[in-house]
Symmetry: C2
Subunit: 253 residues, 2 copies
């Protein structure tokens, strides 16, 4: 396995509705899964409220620490949508109306009731020097500035923006994962797992217990950038599980 750079990203989830418990976040898992396919590892997530200073502080910490920083939330037309202003402040640039974003919104709202109101025009604002991220779901674009990628908070709109970004970010080798399940309480196989991980540098083994169909069991997830190594580690794990009379199930239970 050649030593290659591990590309990393952070996610800043912006929104009072997540911190109040009103809305169940779905963007962490969605962004994480998409990043795996791009060969980029999600290294940290922070959730902050719709408060400018808190967004600026979180963004500046995360964009300095990791290769990319994604944000979700706060780019709609209402007063609590302040992400663009906060990102501009973090970069020390003014907020401008992006001409392409404006014409996308003009096209979209032409003939719709109300037309392109001042509130809707908020969605054409970007930090100066930013590029747009296409949004096939609802048109109002996402925004890229430096290593920061600004996505919508509504999960299916964020998904459309991720789709537009697919293959455009520099990344490394996608993380591979293999799952082996067994009707083994994880505390019965803890030593075996520790040893198997230690025997396979470059692989991490996660253990996820469950209770299902009246019995305990665990799924063991082997993760590595090297698919062959993950396979080898999984095979050793299966053999050792059999050695303790647990029948391994490829793909998990």
């Amino acid at each position: 396995m050649t030593q290659t750079k591990t590309w990393t990203a952070a996610l800043l989830v912006i929104g009072d509705e997540i911190l109040s418990g009103r809305t169940q976040d779905r963007n962490i898992a969605q962004v994480a899964t998409w990043l795996n396919d791009q060969g980029i590892r999600l290294a940290e997530v922070r959730v902050v409220p719709d408060v400018e200073d808190r967004i600026v502080e979180g963004l500046n910490a995360l964009r300095a620490a990791w290769d990319y920083c994604f944000t979700t939330g706060g780019i709609g037309p209402t007063h609590d949508d302040i992400t663009v202003d906060a990102v501009a402040k973090a970069f020390g640039v003014p907020v401008v109306v992006h001409p392409t974003a404006r014409s996308i919104l003009e096209d979209y709202y032409r003939g719709r009731p109300g037309g392109l109101t001042d509130a809707r025009m908020r969605m054409a604002r970007t930090p100066e020097g930013a590029e747009l991220i296409a949004n096939a779901a609802s048109r109002a674009p996402g925004i890229r500035i430096g290593n920061v990628l600004i996505l919508a908070g509504v999960p299916h709109i964020a998904a459309a923006m991720l789709e537009a970004l697919s293959g455009t970010l520099e990344g490394g080798r996608p993380m591979r994962s293999l799952t082996i399940g067994a009707r083994a309480p994880e505390s019965d196989v803890a030593d075996l797992l520790r040893q198997t991980e230690a025997d396979h540098p470059g692989c991490a083994i996660g253990s996820y217990p469950f209770f299902k169909d009246g019995g305990y069991g665990s799924n063991f997830v082997i993760r590595s950038e090297d698919e062959a190594l993950a396979r080898q580690c999984a095979d050793v794990l299966k053999e050792r599980l059999r050695g303790q009379d647990f029948e391994p199930v490829e793909g998990g239970i």
Copy 2:
């Protein structure tokens, strides 16, 4: 409305499985909702991997910044469960076997296959000076040290620990929220919302658009520690929505 201290908490979610996208987090919303009932506001969330230095760094930042810091994940019996060690390191204290935790586990595993193995005994380890949090779901306790509360990652087990903590933490007035729905695209009522929030200091209005039954609409959530004030703000909002020919729906759509 008397000026009172606003009690705050952070949540540190610990687990590779969240950052890899394998597991959809459910603890953020669960802890947030529970905190509201205790009169404590969730002010920040961070998600970090199963890496000791990252847990220590996140914990030390959060426990210094907010009144309480909760953690979820990493307190099971396997090699990737390192939360107790990381918290002890953050506090600069050794890890010890807690006698009460040990006897809880001895009782629980007596007569069960394998008994109290070394791996299971890991769940009796706490930072020195810690107290236990009862766990009616699966017995192995949560842990409290200083302003840090260590919960399980499995949501129904975390729920049992929260249940045990209910009413035991000092907090303020519970946050009240009222929801008003309308078949109004949020961009049509953005000015009205901004004005209504400005007219009611102590209230925050969040706007959450939806597309449902073939039409657009929004739910507006008014939050305040003062129930009467939230009610007054909601009534003004309803009146103003009617003024723009949108029929408000109490409780949301």
